[in-house]
Amino acid sequence: MTIEKKLNGTELEMALAGRMDTSTAPQFETELKNNISGVEKLILDFANLEYISSAGLRVILTAQKIMNKQGEMVIRNVNEVISEVFEITGFIDILTVE
C-alpha cells in the first residue's frame, strides 16, 4: 500500500493505493498519527485503494474517533467493493463518504 499526503493549512489529504490489510494497516495508522496533529479536516482519497480488511477498518474507525474531537473526516472516491463493505459493516452510518 502506498500513501500520498498533501497538507494544505489545517486540511490533510491522504491518498491511499493498493490493499489495506493486516500487514499494511499499521503503516497507515503510523502515517495518520504522525501527521494528524493540528489537522481540522482529514480527507481520505480511496480512488486507488482496492481492498480494505477488518484490520484496516479498525484504523479507519480510530481516525474517525480522532477527527470527531478535532474536526471532520471525509472519505472520497470509494470503489464498489469497499462501499459494500462499509454498507454491510454499518460503517456507512459512522463515516462521511462522498
Partner: protein, 558 residues
C-alpha cells in the same frame, strides 16, 4: 433441603421489598418459605422488567421492583439490539466493592476497567455505568464497611484517577499502558475479562516504539486524542524516564515470541481476569504473553449477581457464593418441567441454568448462564461456568453450545498447528449444517499456513470432533439428518472490529460487550459473512454466504 443462610437471604430480600409494586403483587409479606416463594413468583426474564425499568428511568417512578436506593443502572453486555439496563442498588453493589477490596494489595496494580463518563441522570436520578465502573465511582461514599478511600489507600494504582473515573469517552489502553510500563514494580493486573488483557498485550506488540519514545521524553504523543484539559492533567502526572525507556526498548527488540510480561515487570505475580465460558479462548492466548505468571479467574459475576469465587491460580472451578443472592437451578437435561432446585439438591456432573433473586429487584430471574456442578460438600457447591444458554442451537435436539464449538476449535489447532484467536458459528438452514468461523492469529504467519492446507480436510476433522463431543450431533450425522459442518476463516481482528463498532455506537465500556459466538440474527450474519478471508476460500464458497445476506432464518420464516 435449603440451608438457613439461603433461607435467611431470601427472607431478607422479600422483607426489603415487601412494599414495592412487585412485593405487593406477589404478596412478599406473606411468603415465609422457599416453597411459597416458588409457588407464587413465576420465573422471569429481562422482558418482564424492561417496561418497569422504563417507568423508573423515564418517568422517575420509585419502589416498583425494589425499595432499596439505587446506585445506578448497569449496562449489560448484550451483543445486539437495545442494551439492557440492570438496576443496581447500593446493597447490591456492596458485594462487588468488597470483592474488589479483597483483590487489592499493597503493591502496584494495573486496573483495566473504568467508570464511564456520567453525562446525564435518568428521571429517577440514577446514572448509567458498568458494575466495575460503579465500584470505582463510588468515590468517597462509604458503602458497606468498605470505602473507596480505603481501597485506594490500600494499593498503588498505575493509572491516574482521570483514567479510572473518566469524564469523557476515550480509548484508554495506550495511556494505561504508558503509566504501567513506566512502573517496573507492577505486581498485579486486574481486568473484568481475559479478553482485555490479551488486547493490552497485542496493542503493546504493535505500538511499543511509540510508548517507549513517550517514556523517554515524558511527552505524551498526539496519538492519544483526549481533551486538552485531560491531556494536561495526565501529562502533569507523567515524568520522563530515559533509563526505563532504554530498558524496555531492549526487551521489546527481543520480540514477543517468548512470554514478555515478567521481563517488563519482574515483580508481576498475578493476573486476575475472568476467563471461562465465552472468554476461554482468550485465556489460552494470554499465556503467550504472561507465561508462568499466575492467572486467577477471580469472580464469576454478571451485572445481575456475583455468584462465584475462584482464587486458585489456573483453576476454573468456582465456589458458589450465596451470601448476597438467592439461587435456584433448573437442570439442562430433564423433563423440562422448569422445576427449580436449590443448591443442596444439585447433582455432581450435571448442568444447570441459573435463576437468581437479588438485592436489586430481580426475582426468579433467568440469568442465561449454564453451569456444571463439580461437587456439593458441606453445603458448598463447586462448579464450572460452561456456556450461555442463548448461544446454543438445535436443528433437532442436539443443543450445540459455544463450549463444544470451542473444543472443536482447540482440537483443530492442536491437530494442524494453527493458532485461532476467535471463533463463532452459524446454523445453515438451507443445508441443515453448522459453519464454524475461525479467526486466525495475527502472528506466526497463520494465513499463509492455512492457505497451504486442504480446508476440506480441516472440515472433515472438525465434523468428526463435533460428533465425538456432542453424541446427539454424531447420531444425527450418522442418520443423515444433518450435513457435515463447514469451516470458514475470517480476517484477523474481525471480532475486535465488531466490538469496536458496537462500542463506538453505544459509547460504552469495553468490558460491557461480550464476544459473539452464535450468529443468531441478520446483523451478525451480514457482518461476519462479509469478513470471510477471501484469500483463503474460493469465490464460490464466499458467494454461498454473501448470497444469504437477505435470506436469514428470521426473514425466511416471515
Amino acid at each position: 433441603m435449603i440451608t438457613n443462610q439461603v433461607n435467611e437471604k431470601l427472607l431478607q430480600i422479600l422483607k426489603d421489598n415487601m412494599n414495592s409494586d412487585c412485593g405487593q403483587k406477589w404478596h412478599f409479606e406473606s411468603l415465609k418459605t422457599v416453597e411459597a416463594f416458588r409457588d407464587t413468583v413465576p420465573l422471569t426474564g429481562y422482558d418482564d422488567y424492561a417496561p418497569l425499568i422504563e417507568l423508573t428511568t423515564r418517568i422517575g417512578e420509585k419502589d416498583i421492583f425494589t425499595e432499596l436506593p439505587l446506585a445506578g443502572y448497569a449496562l449489560t453486555s448484550g451483543t445486539t439490539g437495545v442494551p439492557k439496563l440492570i438496576p443496581c442498588t447500593q446493597k447490591h453493589l456492596a458485594q462487588y466493592v468488597e470483592a474488589f477490596d479483597r483483590m487489592s494489595i499493597k503493591g502496584s496494580t494495573l486496573i483495566l476497567f473504568e467508570s464511564m463518563p456520567r453525562t446525564f441522570k435518568y428521571a429517577d436520578q440514577a446514572e448509567l455505568d458498568a458494575i466495575s465502573g460503579m465500584v470505582l465511582a463510588q468515590g468517597q461514599k462509604k458503602i458497606s464497611d468498605v470505602s473507596y478511600k480505603r481501597i485506594i489507600a490500600k494499593g498503588t494504582y498505575t493509572s491516574p484517577i482521570e483514567l479510572l473515573i473518566t469524564k469523557e469517552v476515550m480509548d484508554s489502553v495506550h495511556l494505561r499502558l504508558l503509566f504501567a510500563l513506566a512502573d517496573k514494580k507492577l505486581e498485579q493486573i486486574i481486568a473484568p475479562f481475559t479478553w482485555g488483557v490479551v488486547e493490552l498485550f497485542e496493542y503493546l506488540e504493535y505500538h511499543w516504539e511509540a510508548l517507549v519514545e513517550e517514556i523517554a521524553t515524558g511527552k505524551i504523543s498526539d496519538n492519544v486524542k483526549v481533551s486538552p484539559e485531560l491531556a494536561s492533567k495526565i501529562e502533569a502526572k507523567f515524568t520522563k524516564n530515559p533509563k526505563r525507556a532504554e530498558e524496555l526498548k531492549a526487551i521489546f527488540e527481543e520480540g514477543f515470541e517468548q512470554p514478555i510480561a515478567r521481563k517488563i515487570w519482574p515483580k508481576l505475580t498475578r493476573v486476575i481476569a475472568a476467563g471461562t465460558g465465552s472468554f476461554a479462548i482468550y485465556t489460552e492466548k494470554l499465556s503467550r504473553y504472561i507465561g508462568d505468571v499466575a492467572h486467577i479467574n477471580g469472580l464469576y459475576a454478571a451485572s445481575e449477581a456475583l455468584l462465584g469465587v475462584c482464587n486458585d491460580a489456573g483453576s476454573d472451578v468456582y465456589t458458589l457464593d450465596e451470601e448476597n443472592v438467592f439461587c435456584e437451578f433448573i437442570p439442562v437435561e430433564g423433563d423440562n418441567s422448569d422445576r427449580a432446585l436449590l443448591a443442596g439438591e444439585l447433582e455432581a456432573g450435571k448442568e444447570y441454568n441459573v435463576i437468581i433473586t437479588n438485592n436489586s429487584g430481580f426475582y426468579r430471574y433467568r440469568l442465561g448462564d449454564v453451569i456444571r456442578v463439580l461437587d456439593v460438600k458441606n453445603g458448598k457447591v463447586r462448579f464450572t461456568y460452561e456456556y450461555r444458554a442463548d448461544q446454543t442451537h438445535s436443528f433437532v435436539n442436539e443443543k450445540i453450545n459455544e463450549k463444544e464449538i470451542l473444543t472443536v476449535v482447540q482440537k483443530m489447532e492442536d491437530m494442524y498447528g494453527l493458532v485461532i484467536n476467535d471463533y463463532c458459528y452459524w446454523a445453515d438452514y438451507e443445508n441443515d449444517s453448522y459453519t464454524i468461523f475461525m479467526e486466525p492469529a495475527h502472528y506466526g504467519n497463520m494465513e499463509q499456513k492455512i492457505a497451504n492446507m486442504d480446508i476440506n480436510e480441516i472440515e472433515k476433522y472438525c465434523d468428526e470432533q463435533l460428533a465425538k463431543i456432542n453424541t446427539k450431533y454424531g447420531q444425527l450425522r450418522k442418520e443423515g439428518k444433518l450435513s457435515a459442518c463447514k469451516v470458514m476463516f475470517l480476517q484477523p481482528q474481525t471480532h475486535l472490529l465488531y466490538r469496536d463498532v458496537l462500542r463506538y455506537r453505544r459509547k460504552t465500556a469495553q468490558d460491557q460487550i461480550k464476544p459473539v459466538r452464535f450468529l443468531d440474527n441478520p446483523v451478525k450474519e451480514k457482518f461476519f459473512f462479509s469478513m470471510i478471508d477471501r484469500g483463503l476460500h474460493t469465490s464460490e464458497q464466499v458467494k454461498y454466504y454473501t448470497d444469504r445476506f437477505s435470506k436469514s432464518k428470521k426473514e425466511r420464516t416471515l
